[in-house]
Amino acid sequence: MSGQNTSAYDVQPDALTLPFWTAAKDGRFILPQCRACGRFHFYPRAQCPYCASDDLTWIDAKTGGSIVSCTTVSRAPAPAFEADIPYTLAVVETADGPCLFGRIIGSPNPKVGDKVEIGFEAAGNYPRVVFRTGG
């Protein structure tokens, strides 16, 4: 991180997402779960996307996952990201079911299907989701 312009990394949490970001600051990965149907979902919503119940809670989630897809970015979308180039972004299927978007750290050549460990690293006003590969 360049540190000279971190605003592009910042997030503006709302009432639905603040628990996720607050837990992330403590290094905890939590997911919303529906108490009516028991399913996990992500991103956070006002109601369960499967059964429409608004009886939702947050659960400490398993930190394992596998890569659904990944791409290495060679051109920055904004000046703030230029110092990071190249970086690898991925969609990961978490062990509890929902998918999650984040950055790969560790392996220089991550592959679809590779196992990852979900975690966080310092970025802007809140940490960013990272996926640590075994390699």
């Binding site: 592009a8 503006q12 897809s69 791409t71 970015v73 060679s74 904004a78 969609v91 998918c99 960013r128």
Partner: protein, 389 residues
């Protein structure tokens, strides 16, 4: 049974790099071209559909566009289904005519997406346009290209699709553009050219990506009764369907399985046709991988087979299955939401036999497909010649 409304006229403004014209200037040009094509006058328009612009706010778009054109309509609306807007406008115009709210609907949209933006800002603006989740994706630094690259990467891993097979889509569509005197990029390219083009977000390279253009596009929908008296043979609307599954790429494990499955099935059901009945397909081509997923999900080849389906050159001019015959977003023009309207215009021209050097012989049915978001929102339209059911 076809819809009671038909397409009576199509047109476009100058497009490509048009540094001297404002969005309203471009929309005026496109509207006049479509009216002239139909043999109608501005005063004949009593319905209007437009879209928002990405280069600046209109509030509300349909009102401001109506006032710029000097028309007072009995019905008007603003549609925004991103890249699916072109085919959706067609559907909604046909419904407005069928309901009796108006008789003759102008669908028009355009902007100076290329000239109005300082270098680099179009890319940043698109990255922040809302196709990525504002909290969970945008701060990680994806380009729009990255989001489609995730689709491509999964297609490669799951089905064995190669970068060369994706490149063939760009090569074929460029070959169609080479036949279109107005296309923004006409120089033929090879698979090697695509492979050697600048890496943007793996596996996608510069030539896997759509252009950025200035331009406006218009078409006119009216009742079949009214169209009888007009200049051109009407083009029928045989079926239209919508479909969507995921919203953001980060929420699905099946990036390569799209709402085009649903939009295509619904359009074919209304038209009482199947993929084998389609003479030419004007398929949304924001990236090469988009075309592969659409070919599969619309039923033109089995799921996972599109890479092998295209590699024999069948999408090229005179091939077994030419697609996106004006040169598409990859090589003709991409002025934002109006870019997908050009696929409608080309479908109409193919059915009328007016597609010039890009004409596919004997076209009676054309499928037009629009896709918006990150291969997320789909609208498929099936058009037919006057004598089709």
């Amino acid at each position: 049974m076809a819809r009671s409304a038909v397409i009576a006229g199509v047109g476009a403004s100058d497009y490509g790099k048009v540094p001297d014209k404002s969005p309203f200037h471009l929309m005026s040009q496109a509207t006049k071209a479509a009216l002239d094509d139909a043999g109608l006058r501005m005063s004949d328009i009593d319905g209007l559909i437009t879209t928002p612009m990405r280069v600046g706010p209109l509030n509300p778009p349909a009102l401001i566009v109506a006032r710029n054109l000097g028309i007072s309509t009995s019905w008007l609306s603003t549609v925004d289904l991103a890249g699916a807007s072109g085919t959706a406008m067609l559907d909604q115009a046909a419904m407005a005519v069928a309901s009796g709210q108006c008789t003759t609907v102008l669908c028009v949209s355009g902007q100076n997406l290329l000239s109005n933006t300082w270098k680099g800002s179009a890319i940043q603006a698109m990255a922040e346009s809302g196709v990525a989740h504002q909290q969970f994706e945008v701060p990680q630094g994806p380009l729009v290209v990255s989001l489609y690259a995730l689709v491509a990467s999964q297609h490669m891993a799951r089905y064995g699709t190669t970068e060369e097979q994706m490149a063939e889509v760009a090569v074929a569509i460029r070959a169609h553009a080479a036949l279109n005197p107005k296309a923004q990029k006409r120089e033929p390219i090879t698979i090697q050219d695509v492979m050697a083009s600048k890496r943007i977000s793996s596996p996608l390279k510069m030539l896997d990506c759509a252009l950025v253009s200035d331009g406006a596009v218009a078409f006119i929908v009216t009742s079949a009764d009214r169209a009888v008296e007009l200049r051109k043979r009407p083009v029928k609307i045989l079926g239209i369907g919508y479909g969507h599954r995921h919203g953001y790429v980060g929420e699905t494990r099946d990036l390569v399985v799209t709402g085009a499955i649903d939009s295509g099935a619904r359009a074919f059901r209304e038209a009482r046709l199947g993929p084998g009945d389609i003479d030419v397909a004007e398929i949304y081509d924001c990236f090469t991988i988009t075309v592969l997923c659409e070919l599969e999900d619309l039923g033109f080849c089995p799921k996972g087979e599109a890479g092998r389906f295209v590699e024999d050159g069948r999408l090229r001019p005179k091939g077994a299955f030419p697609i996106t015959t004006h040169g598409g977003l990859l090589s003709c023009m991409h002025s934002g939401l109006s870019g997908g309207m050009m696929h409608v215009v080309e479908g109409v021209r193919q059915i009328r036999g007016e597609a010039g050097a890009a004409q596919v012989p004997g076209v009676e049915t054309a499928l037009v497909h629009g896709n918006g978001g990150v291969i997320a929102i789909h609208c498929t339209a099936i058009l037919g010649a006057e004598h089709t059911a």
